[in-house]
């Protein structure tokens, strides 16, 4: 590898260096306790998926360029220049990582391998080795944001179609307000009607003053590993929220989108937003508890379990509201073991469902989730994350689990319809 390229890659590491990352580089004892925490390593026993090994690749570069001891005695510290072999392994281990941070939870030093792999993605991008499909999806989202005069009408027409579908399904006019100045809530959904229809039913019943974002919540810039693209993608709906003067931005059932909006955006934008960010399930839980919406408590007759998406649970702190909602609409709820912060990652996060080259490891790494689901005996899985649903749907098919996999708000919409019939 040419020195100029090496300098560029080292420059990325330098630019992203902060206190936490430096500590993560310096103190790992390579005890490998993380091996039993990672769903990918547990399922494959492949060294490259061992969290400490994923991080070690970056440490090898760090030691060579950021420590005097690594420069003085590279053999002792296994300090080295980045080369094609290193980048090959880095690509596989980094883009396969779902960023669930279960390894961080179990690490005695809380070393955040997810944060290190985010840095690794930056290095790969600088080396021209970023994942192509994720990069293209990120660019497409940015292109849409930059060319709304081209897409605006098409999107609005799509929303009108969803209104028509709702009319047909419910027999009522349920509006989907867009670009509503002075709305209290800007709801940021996913592409497709499945995240819009139940939310519209719920907001309408609760009498909420809401409006739908013209932009989707999904953020492929985040998965790609480019914080600037990620910021610009989120900025599309953040600017919309500022322009409309809303009081809160409500993110749909999408794990990483919630984390980007709530945990990362203000740090990236270097400014405090004048509105709060909430997850849709926090809002729905509030509606049920304060009586804004009425649900039939026994509407869902089957045994229901709940999957904690890593980005909402362990990395987002939302554990109880979704459970309270599910318990409010289902008579037979059973939790998985382990659950909440100890929940196994389903294997579908981090954009891996969009990258065909990782299909084999992705499906294999769902083994723990399959075990967990089977043990519950549930026939319905409530799951508030699109990537998790896609992954578990495939696991459902491959392992013949006989599950109905639904967003939590869809169960709520069913229970509201059931309550209306009673």
């Amino acid at each position: 590898m040419e020195q100029q390229t090496i300098d560029t890659l080292v420059g990325v590491l330098d630019k992203r260096m902060n206190r936490q990352l430096k500590l993560y580089m310096d103190i790992c004892a390579r005890c490998a306790i993380c091996k039993d925490a990672c769903h990918q390593y547990v399922a494959t026993q492949d060294m490259k998926y061992l969290p400490a090994r994923r991080a070690e690749l970056i440490r090898e570069i760090y030691r060579k360029y950021f420590t005097k001891t690594g420069q003085f005695m590279p053999a002792l510290y296994e300090a080295r220049d980045p080369d094609e072999n290193l980048l090959d392994e880095l690509y596989d281990s980094t883009y396969a990582c779902t960023g669930c941070r279960r390894c961080t939870y179990y690490c005695p030093f809380s070393i955040d391998t997810g944060w290190i792999t985010a840095t690794a993605k930056g290095i790969l991008i600088a080396a021209g080795r970023g994942n192509e499909i994720l990069g293209e999806l990120a660019d497409a989202a940015l292109f849409k944001g930059d060319n709304m005069e081209m897409f605006g009408e098409i999107i609005a027409s799509g929303f009108a179609d969803i209104e028509a579908e709702l009319r047909e399904e419910t027999g009522r006019d349920i509006p989907i307000p867009v670009d509503k100045q002075g709305a209290d809530i800007l709801y940021v959904a996913l592409a497709g009607s499945h995240s819009i229809k139940p939310a519209a039913i719920i907001f309408e019943a609760a009498g909420a003053n809401w409006t739908l974002s013209m932009f989707e919540a999904a953020n492929y810039g985040f998965f790609y590993g480019d914080p600037e693209k990620s910021r610009l993608i989120a900025k599309r709906y953040m600017d919309e929220a500022l322009r409309l003067g809303v009081k809160e931005v409500v993110i749909t059932e999408c794990g990483h989108a919630y984390r980007v909006a709530e945990m990362f955006y203000e740090a990236w934008a270097k400014e405090k937003m004048p509105f709060k960010v909430r997850h849709i399930l926090e809002v729905i839980d509030e509606y049920i508890k304060d009586g804004s919406i009425t649900v039939d408590p026994g509407a869902i007759g089957e045994k229901v379990t709940y999957h904690d998406p890593c980005q909402i649970g362990r990395n987002g702190g939302i554990y109880e509201q979704p459970r309270d909602i599910v318990k409010a609409v289902a008579g037979d709820f059973v939790d998985m073991t382990p659950n909440r912060e100890k929940q196994w990652c389903c294997g579908g996060g981090g954009g891996i469902v969009a990258m065909e080259e990782f299909d084999a490891v992705r499906l294999k790494s769902g083994a723990k989730k399959v075990e967990q689901i089977r043990a519950t005996g549930a026939t319905v899985l409530a799951c508030p994350c699109e990537n998790c649903r896609l992954q578990i749907a495939e696991l459902n098919e491959v392992h013949d689990l006989g599950l109905r996999i639904v967003p939590v708000m869809e169960l709520v919409a069913e229970a509201m319809a059931s309550a209306a019939r009673v």
Binding site: I27, C31, A32, D36
Partner: protein, 240 residues
């Protein structure tokens, strides 16, 4: 003092303590001057108050309940080693100043017997733990993950513990002899008392000290910085 004694048990002690202290101070300074991440990196659930976060920091760092739950064997070995090392360190303070209340309670022979028993247990526990780590690191996935640095540290620890155990179990000298040597160190006039200088135990002590010196010198430039850094990283998991 012959030249080897002077190197290992004399000037080496000063050099190693100086390098250790300045090195760790430099490492902490380096960490502290690096800007913090502006992104929120906490794990949930997390305490809501500062006191709660402090309590969790101590729990996570000193007891690591999550790690114990997932890797009980490794963590028990780690706890046993760290506790035994702490006990051994406290025992070594006797060389600086005799634990007078304990001597008053147990008598000099009783104190020596107590120190022999507790020091012996600590030495055996540390030896078993270090051997376990060497075996664990030499086989399976850990071998591929391990670097020469890991083996160097384990070799130094093994040297310290084996020679320390030799002094404990084979050496014929008691604390009072070592106290004289330690007093000379503290007076910056390192010298062995005649009893120690004439004893073959001197050689074991020198090797013990050589390993200790090397370990302390290497400490700030190794992963051993986790002894301090773990407090900072464990705080991040419950940060704002």
């Amino acid at each position: 003092m012959d030249w080897f004694s002077y190197l290992a048990s004399g000037v080496g002690v000063y050099v190693s303590i100086a390098v250790f202290t300045l090195g760790m101070a430099w490492r902490i300074y380096e960490w502290s001057r690096t800007p913090r991440s502006t992104v929120r990196l906490a794990l949930y659930p997390k305490p809501k108050t500062g006191l709660g976060r402090f309590g969790k920091l101590l729990k996570d760092t000193l007891l690591a309940p999550q790690s114990v739950a997932i890797a009980t064997g490794v963590m028990l070995a780690a706890f046993a080693f760290h506790f035994a090392a702490l006990a051994a360190f406290v025992g070594h303070l006797r060389l600086v100043h005799e634990f007078t209340p304990l001597v008053a309670l147990l008598g000099e022979d009783g104190m020596n017997a107590f120190a022999g028993l507790s020091g012996g247990i600590a030495g055996i526990v540390m030896l078993v733990a270090v051997l376990y780590w060497i075996v664990r690191r030499t086989y399976g996935a850990y071998r591929k993950l391990s670097t020469p640095e890991d083996y160097l540290l384990l070799a130094l620890l093994l040297g310290i513990v084996v020679m320390g155990d030799h002094l404990r179990f084979v050496g014929e000298l008691h604390a009072s002899t070592y106290q004289v040597w330690f007093a000379s160190l503290m007076a910056f006039k390192p010298a062995f008392p005649p009893e120690l200088a004439a004893s073959s135990t001197r050689l074991a002590l020198n090797w013990h000290m050589l390993f200790v010196d090397a370990f302390l010198i290497y400490f700030p430039f190794s992963k051993m910085t986790h002894a301090v850094g773990a407090f900072a990283t464990n705080l991040v998991r419950s940060s704002e």
